[in-house]
């Protein structure tokens, strides 16, 4: 479904991503792991068009998406959530998700149509899925961190993405919060049949949910395989997992 071929990206001489190649197959849960500064978020930014690669190509369903703008890529079926909270804080929870649904339905250039109840059913279904119905009319910026994380996930779902990229969805959550968040995410993507590529630091979470793990270190892929293959890879043990597991 997603194919990254020899992609590189540097910032003022600092090589953030170097000759990275990887694939994500349809229907699988893939995890991208690595130490801080390994280039995981940069790679997400390259895939979703937020950054332009210096070299290499990215394909989604065999279509070349290298150098397309984010608004174009999201319409092809790649959704994304962010490491830092990235919502629309002055809008209500309902409006946050409704805006994404309206955009997905290509109704954004309706200038005089009332929007109040537009796609209310579709929006409500997403709010139900991510457990935000109770706070649907609250201003999203005033919600707790946990709710905002759920909202971030809800916004990403509005485009009914075939491939969902989640950047540290449990960051900042307690152990209980992490467990609930992952349960929610896995349930939703299994129900929808969405392919998932996730950046996660909690190794227990990664090894329990992933079909496939890619390990980045210093901007390079040092291992790529099943959880068992990665766990026993000596280079991964040496550079990363030795510290974590």
């Amino acid at each position: 479904m997603l194919r990254v071929e020899k992609v590189s990206k540097s910032f003022d001489g600092f090589v953030a991503v170097s000759q990275v190649s990887m694939t994500v197959k349809e229907g699988e849960i893939a995890s991208l792991i690595g130490t801080n500064g390994a280039g995981k978020t940069t790679l997400f930014n390259l895939i979703t068009g937020h950054l332009r690669s210096d070299e290499g190509e990215i394909y989604f369903k065999d279509r070349r998406i290298t150098h397309l703008r984010p608004y174009h890529i999201v319409r092809l079926g790649i959704g994304r959530s962010f490491q830092r909270l990235n919502i629309f804080p002055r809008l209500t929870v309902f409006e946050n998700v409704q805006a994404a649904v309206i955009s997905y339905k290509k109704e954004t250039l309706s200038f005089l149509r009332p929007r109040e109840r537009l796609f209310e059913g579709e929006t409500q279904r997403i709010l139900d899925e991510v457990g935000l119905t109770a706070v649907r009319n609250e201003i999203s910026g005033s919600l707790s961190y946990g709710y905002q994380k759920q909202l971030e996930f809800g916004i990403a779902l509005a485009f009914e993405p075939e491939l969902l990229l989640l950047d540290e969805p449990t960051a900042g959550l307690s152990a209980v919060g992490t467990s609930h968040a992952m349960e929610l995410i896995v349930n939703v993507i299994k129900t929808r049949g969405t392919t998932l590529l996730v950046i996660e630091h909690d190794m227990h979470v990664v090894f329990s949910i992933s079909d496939h793990i890619i390990v980045l270190h210093g901007g390079r892929v040092i291992s790529d395989g099943t959880p068992e293959q990665v766990r026993t890879d000596p280079e991964v043990q040496k550079s990363y997992l030795g510290e974590s597991l």
Partner: protein
């Protein structure tokens, strides 16, 4: 009784009520009141059009007065200099302002924040320089005077009712735009332009569209200005004019559709009142702006929602909520 009404209906009632109050002014007011209210009406239109950019799309323009002036000059030159029929000139002025907005907007939206603001200001200054120096067409420093409207608009009352009708229709159109799916996309861009791209919004395209639309409405305000004053001068493009209208938006509240209207009413009345006693209006305006920015960042229209939100948040502390992830 009002408690059972939805917000939308309350706003509609507010709008209708306001229209009735304005419609009664010629019946009960003096000639000065009618003149002042006409001025108030096109200023409301101007401030609300600016707020489509500032409050709804998060684009801080200091050059909006440029489109006001283009509308005014285009109407005046077409109607007075070239004898184009009144109705055609009346619509052509705002349309030319919109064309100018497309051109200027194309460059401005490539920049963000302070750079965007200063480029809009620079464009307004370019328009000022053109009106000031292109004497054969614009009359230069002396401007164009003696713009006599068609006979049916000679009585002040008729000019007032035409202004009221045009402003009411345009405000209604702007209200619909602000509450449309397109309006929501503008809010999304204002809140988080990076995230907006990731929900499929072509940010620059939408910014250019709203820049053009608001330029069109500002152009209409300029035409109505000429209809009342029957003249146009480069003075309308002075930086202080830009500050005045931005102040109306901030004082009234940029996050509420009716905010700029409240700001326009408050500041224009205050201006006419203060000027009787002192020539230091800008000092008074500065103090008002400082107080609003420091203590009421959402402006006058934001005071009651702010109190209500604080109260709700306080109450919410005592209520457990279901389904929340614990941080």
């Amino acid at each position: 009784m009002l408690k059972g009404l939805k917000m939308k209906n309350k706003e509609l009632l507010f709008g209708i009520g306001l229209f009735i109050v304005f419609a009664l002014i010629p019946v009960i007011g003096s000639k000065y009141t009618i003149y002042f209210s006409t001025q108030l009406l096109f200023t409301i239109l101007f401030a609300t059009s600016l707020n489509l950019l500032v409050g709804h799309a998060g684009l801080f323009s200091f050059g909006h007065v440029g489109f006001y002036a283009i509308g005014a000059y285009a109407f005046t030159i077409l109607y007075k200099t070239y004898g184009v029929p009144f109705g055609v000139s009346f619509v052509a002025g705002p349309l030319l302002a919109a064309v100018a907005a497309v051109i200027f907007g194309y460059f401005c939206i490539r920049l963000t924040k302070i750079y965007f603001t200063f480029l809009t200001l620079a464009f307004a200054q370019i328009i000022w320089a053109i009106t000031f120096k292109w004497t054969p067409v614009t009359g230069g420093d002396s401007g164009i005077v003696g713009v006599t409207p068609p006979s049916f608009l000679i009585p002040l009352n008729n000019t007032y009712f035409l202004t009221l009708g045009v402003v009411a229709v345009l405000i209604y159109v702007m209200y619909r735009i602000a509450h449309s799916p397109f309006g929501l996309m503008l809010n999304v861009i204002r809140e988080n332009p990076n995230r907006a791209e990731f929900i499929g919004v072509n940010v620059r395209l939408y910014q250019l569209i709203i820049f053009t639309i608001s330029g069109f409405f500002a152009g209409f305000a300029g035409v109505l200005f000429v209809l009342l004053t029957r003249s146009i001068f480069p003075d309308v493009l002075l930086v202080t004019r830009s500050i005045d209208v931005v102040a109306m938006v901030i004082v009234g509240g940029m996050y509420n559709f009716w905010g700029p209207m409240i700001g326009a009413v408050v500041l224009l009345y205050l201006n006419s009142f203060v000027k009787v006693y002192t020539e230091y209006w800008l000092l008074v305006l500065g103090i008002i702006l400082a107080v609003v920015v420091l203590f009421f960042p959402d402006g006058i229209s934001g005071i009651f929602p702010w109190i209500s939100a604080r109260f709700k948040r306080l109450m919410a502390r005592f209520k457990p909520r279901k389904g929340e992830l614990s941080a």
